[in-house]
Symmetry: C2
DNA sequence: TTGGGTGCAAATCTTTTGCAGGTGT
DNA sequence: ACACCTGCAAAAGATTTGCACCCAA
């Protein structure tokens, strides 16, 4: 088991911020926005909280481009889209997740318990 | 258009190495293996070539864990599986890619041209 | 000959971590 | 009080890049 999670002003602000965003910001974007509310918050704290929340399943960590993780305040599994030009990440409103998991599990000896579906392309503004 | 790509011993060795592997090694693993063939190759050269080849569509770049990219010598779209314990990445033999692309494209105004499907779980040896 | 390619090392960027002090319960 | 949390700054990793030289075409 992990350690108990206690209340903290910083963590609360991070969760609330993520829930207001439809895009899926990087740790750095979270940091810069939270700084406007808690000016002396540190980047390390932002990372610690994002990791803790992702590990606890409260938020989702998205590996979009192998460089910088993005975070999603909604932890229900769903599909994402990333624009190759501007880097924006957004939700895609289709839900093949359960079907994919079943189909994959029948084809392997490994134990599958999660899947990430990420579309790439060009968004309206960049095409 | 990108620049013309010329022959190089190093690039050739990298492509050949990737094609012999069923797993999908990181840049660092590629570097350490290629060094046994070309002892004085540099890590920078490995990165430059992997990026160049991925951009040209010759190989696939896989963002598996947000830390380190993995590279796949087979550029045909297919699904992957990553073990949460040992970090091994392997192919999954199902092919929902075309269906996913169609289904997503009908649900968005953005232009979709690619998708990455990555399953997570525990492999036979780690479960 | 020329422009891409390379090795090397320094630089950059992202993320983690040790530490001393702060705070929720 | 006790454990968890934080800010700070240094450390650790991963990847990129500037530069001078090399080599394929």
């Amino acid at each position: 088991m992990g350690q108990p999670i206690r209340y903290s002003h910083q963590r609360e602000a991070i969760i609330n911020f993520l829930k207001t965003r439809k895009d899926h910001p990087t740790a750095d974007v979270v940091y810069n926005n939270i700084k406007q509310i808690i000016p002396n918050i540190s980047l390390g704290t932002v990372y610690r909280n994002l990791n803790q929340l992702a590990d606890a399943g409260v938020i989702l960590r998205l590996a979009c481009d192998g460089k910088t993780d993005h975070f999603d305040g909604c932890s229900t599994p769903h599909c994402h889209f990333m624009c190759k030009t501007c880097g924006a990440v957004k939700d895609i409103d289709i839900n093949p997740i359960d079907k994919l998991l079943n189909s994959a599990q029948t084809n392997t000896d490994d134990t599958i318990d999660d899947v990430s579906v990420l579309f790439y392309g060009y968004c309206k503004d960049c095409k």
